[in-house]
């Protein structure tokens, strides 16, 4: 088995960190953009770009509440995103066991 078997959308350091962090939340919970940025340590622009890619693949959803400076964006992993991470982790395990 080669690295090609791994989901290319998750198999990028920043996106792996995003998905792994959001997966530690209980199902139905969301994390604010600022807290996620604080936990992962990416620049805001970089984080937005990675989040967009994951959202386009339906791995996560985002919700914006409020207006102006008080607005807040929250992101949450979808069921599909959680399943994708599970598959990714299982594939990794298989690859490492095969080494």
């Amino acid at each position: 088995m080669t690295a090609d078997a791994l989901d290319p959308l998750i198999h990028v350091p920043a996106r792996l960190q995003i998905v792994a962090t959001l997966a530690t939340l209980p199902d139905g919970d969301a994390l604010s953009f600022t807290r996620l940025q604080d936990m992962i340590g990416l620049t805001p622009g970089n984080l937005i770009t990675h989040l967009r890619k994951l959202e386009d693949a339906d791995y996560l959803t985002s919700e914006k509440t409020g207006n102006g400076p008080a607005s807040r964006t929250s992101v949450a992993l979808t069921r599909q995103g959680r399943a994708a991470l599970d598959t990714y982790a299982a594939t990794l395990r298989q690859m490492l066991n095969g080494l």
């Binding site: 920043a14 805001p44 937005i48």
Partner: protein, 229 residues
């Protein structure tokens, strides 16, 4: 996706392509995944060995101070005002550290678990109020021994707190939390048998031992090597 308002308009766009290019080998990916999940769990969980250690110290010092004030006096006499000041001050510090740690851990988190925790908080306060109300009723009926009220109040508080946390731990399948909660309930119930003076020492030492044991296991789990993914 629009996080611009969260960022205060500071849209510093990084080089995402550079990140994409930084290919991960399976071992690095496994390490990163494990490390990220562990860091996130630690960051989002308000419990920590330090917080439990503070609770153990509070239990020993607060209950110990009261025991020192009552050990030589008549069993039916309550603790001195100075001992109660120490007790309440330390309990306030304990509550303050828990509230601070909880707020810090849950900052930015929203959703069903937050609503669930609020409901649990309401249930806990209601249970505590419910067990304290009979004290008022008994006092009005003329039950006069201060020691009775203290034995009842301390024992009931420990049993309610233990039962609440035991239920919470069972739902979350946190078996270590369940074990500690049951131990707290047992300490409360057994200490009541030691009488109005001995109860304070028994509670202080019992809770301290239980919490120190929990801290040791917690710290061991945090530092234990874990296999990747």
């Amino acid at each position: 996706m629009n996080g611009a308002a969260d960022m205060g308009g500071a849209g510093t766009y990084g080089n995402t392509e550079a990140d994409e290019a930084g290919a991960l080998d399976p071992e690095s990916a496994s390490r990163l995944l494990t490390q990220t999940q562990r860091q996130a769990q630690r960051s989002l969980d308000f419990r920590s060995p330090w917080l439990t250690l503070i609770a153990a110290a509070v239990a020993l010092i607060a209950f110990g101070a009261v025991w020192l004030s009552v050990r030589e006096q008549h069993p039916f006499k309550g603790p001195t005002a100075a001992a109660l000041v120490v007790l309440y001050a330390l309990v306030a510090i304990r509550i303050g550290t828990v509230v601070y740690a909880h707020r810090r851990a849950s900052a930015g988190v929203s959703g069903s678990s937050v609503r669930q925790q609020r409901a649990e908080g309401v249930a806990l306060v209601a249970a505590l109020v419910a067990v304290y109300l009979p004290i008022v009723s008994l006092a009005q009926d003329g039950a006069g021994h201060a020691s009775f009220y203290w034995v009842y109040a301390v024992t009931a508080t420990l049993i309610v707190l233990g039962a609440f946390w035991a239920g919470r731990s069972a739902v979350r399948e946190d078996w270590m939390g369940l074990g500690v909660s049951v131990a707290v309930m047992l300490v409360g119930a057994v200490s009541a048998l030691a009488g109005p003076r001995g109860m304070w020492l028994s509670d202080g030492i019992g809770l301290c031992v239980v919490l120190l044991g929990y801290t040791a296991v917690e710290a061991g789990l945090v530092h234990a090597p874990r296999s990747g993914t």
